[in-house]
Assembly symmetry: C2
Homo-oligomer: 409 residues x 2
């Protein structure tokens, strides 16, 4: 079963909004064994939408669109689809009742533009949109399925999970499964890893495929089966892969490192705090992104200025002056300081030169000291993490989490 995704909206093509929808949808479709052939982003423009629909329907069994379903003038998807299928817009009492219920619990007043949202193509099947007023429309075709979803990410996600995927499973009971297994490695360049794995890759059976996905200093190795290879075989080859790269292996699945950290801390009923300078709160934000983080995460001190390092974390002025903020001594003090004032079991500290300014010959941009304070003592490591601000801070967060995992295990 093959699908395509068409994301509709001028904002995508002038680069004002990054399309996060299609990656999310592709993941969910893959889990159901639906391969995504292509993602296409097009303008809010009639001919362009029609052409993309024709192309996608010529290749795929299922076509999903997102976007262009709002009540404003620039949103034309519903009207284009009406024309495409020669349907008329008619009032849906079911959708009207839903939108009225939705607005009853909101501070806003239901106005005449919102009222256009219950005008529905006559002949389309409407799936309920629990959290918004845009209709989720299924267009009846002989063997294929075309479904239009709203473009607001959380509306789309709820619609996919609660409505679209169950609908597709019901309509196509034979859905197979593409299987993926992923492991993460770190501390080796991609090309050296590829040489290490050359023999392994050459001996992979038909239907198994290995991909390298480097990001933020971590390389994900993903082994995929086309659905013809038994899961057992996939598992055997992933075991073999782990064996070959075991010196660089960090974790054996695709969950983010901060989730592994949460599991490890919860398993030990241990708590964590961070003291961040160059990462500026990014590490804390990463940890607290996930619900349930309050079970192990106590808090952070973002010590951006030296005054805060001294006054809140208790770092001696002498060390700040003598060694500088980006130093082994200071990052150790930071980790120990935040561990002490938050009464945590573990603490991570970061201090570095994120750039683009502030580098020197001795401490160039990308120099980051990371310290870990644990019940067994404190230590720190210096990393060179690249030249670009975002890259440096993202990589520092990953290095900090990898180091913590190693120290908890």
């Amino acid at each position: 079963m093959r699908a395509e995704i068409i994301t509709i909206g001028d904002e995508l093509l002038i680069g004002q909004v990054v399309d996060t929808n299609s990656a999310w949808m592709a993941q969910r479709l893959n889990e159901c064994g639906i391969e995504v052939l292509q993602v296409t982003s097009v303008h809010d423009e009639r001919n362009h939408i029609v052409q993309a629909l024709n192309d996608a329907l010529s290749r795929a069994d299922i076509v999903l669109t997102t976007g262009g379903l709002g009540p404003t003038k620039d949103d034309i998807t519903k009207h284009v689809l009406c024309e495409y299928f020669r349907m008329k817009l008619v009032e849906s009492s079911q959708v009207k009742a839903h939108i009225e219920r939705l607005y009853a619990s909101r501070p806003q007043v239901l106005n005449k533009l919102t009222a256009t949202q219950w005008m529905i193509p006559n002949g389309a099947t409407i799936l309920p949109n629990r959290v918004g007023s845009a209709p989720i429309m299924v267009f009846p075709m002989r063997t294929k399925t075309l479904i239009c979803l709203p473009g607001v990410p959380y509306e789309m996600e709820i619609a996919m999970t609660e409505q679209v995927l169950p609908f597709l499973r019901q309509r196509h009971p034979s859905l197979g499964t593409i299987e993926h297994r992923t492991i993460m490695v770190s501390g080796i360049p991609e090309s050296s890893l590829a040489i290490m794995l050359a023999e392994y890759e050459a001996s992979l059976p038909q239907g198994l495929r290995l991909a390298y996905l480097p990001k933020d200093g971590v390389i994900r190795l993903r082994l995929s089966s086309d659905g013809q290879v038994p899961v057992q075989t996939l598992e055997e080859w992933i075991d073999q892969l782990q064996f070959v790269v075991h010196n660089y292996l960090i974790v054996t699945d695709d969950r983010p490192l901060e989730v592994h950290v949460a599991d490890a801390l919860n398993a030990h009923r241990a708590t964590l705090a961070t003291a961040e300078s160059c990462t500026g709160g990014k590490l804390a934000a990463l940890l607290t992104k996930h619900s349930g983080s309050s079970s192990y995460f106590r808090g952070s001190v973002i010590a951006y200025s030296n005054d805060v390092k001294r006054d809140v974390l208790g770092i001696p002025e002498y060390d700040l002056q003598r060694y500088g903020a980006v130093s082994e001594q200071v990052v150790r003090w930071m980790a120990e300081g935040v561990r002490r004032i938050t009464h945590s079991d573990y603490a991570i500290a970061t201090s570095g030169i994120a750039g683009p300014t502030g580098g020197s010959a001795e401490k160039p941009v990308g120099t980051v000291w990371i310290g870990w304070a644990t019940p067994n003592g404190t230590d720190a490591t210096c990393f060179q993490l690249g030249k670009l601000r975002e890259q440096v801070t993202d990589r520092a967060c990953q290095k900090a989490l990898i180091g913590l995992l190693e120290r908890i295990r």
Copy 2:
């Protein structure tokens, strides 16, 4: 001048990686007056790449591809292009010298896989890739231009800025300009805004177009001209737009709110700190994402646990018990506490129920108290920011920044 972007990689179509490249590229191309017609994501698969190339070249003057240029087996873009243009791979001594120089300053050793990177399609023009080993290839066509870029975002960005855009400007000296002007409003639902703007929109002259881009509780209104309308006319209509929505207007350009906050604080030589509970460091990370933030940002206390609120921020245990952490009293204490201990002029505090758990009838998921402590006093406001964790925390950051801007001005 019209362009299309083709992003190549299985990881995009199984949803493991979000394609941020095409939005970034589209912005840059738009700035040069190049309209992006379509973005297409395809698999690392020969026939699929060829089909996408044919389609894009039939519509656009310029086609840019990203991805599939790495040294590993899954990267096939270079080989497909060789076949497409009937070229052969030959060793480029220029690229070889560049890669050898690049590796001389790296800890890694140059291995035989990396060596395949200096094999170049015979007849392609190579633009230098300052920061990586993947070649930037320009394929000569009669009237059109096809350019292949690496998929790693920072490599692509440097290649676009330093090589590809100057190359395109040189090859197409007649490049026009599509102009966009954007303003941001908040505190009004999209559909009410559209009704307020109905007359304005109806009277827009040919060639001007208004778009609504809602995100995190802020709506961007973007007025675009197709290049035929004089800039002066666009400016007049954006002035008119500001007048119509002035009750809800926050800022009059498209720069992120934290950049406006930075400007406002720097103009007053004032400093800022944050005390974050539900936003968990996201607000600090947003502020420190931008270089130069150390001029006004002193630091934060992420007070996730009540102990940290009490011990680090000095909030009375009595108030925590009596009012709860999500309350006006506590968020005011948090703002004042972090302002005091970091010696800042301004402070923002957040405390709320980000969900999905922790809500109650009295304080449902999405309830967020935000407090601002300023040289003129402290106040706080309660918001209802939705039902989804990420949505709640993203919106809370935007509300916090809007509130701060209002209090500085």
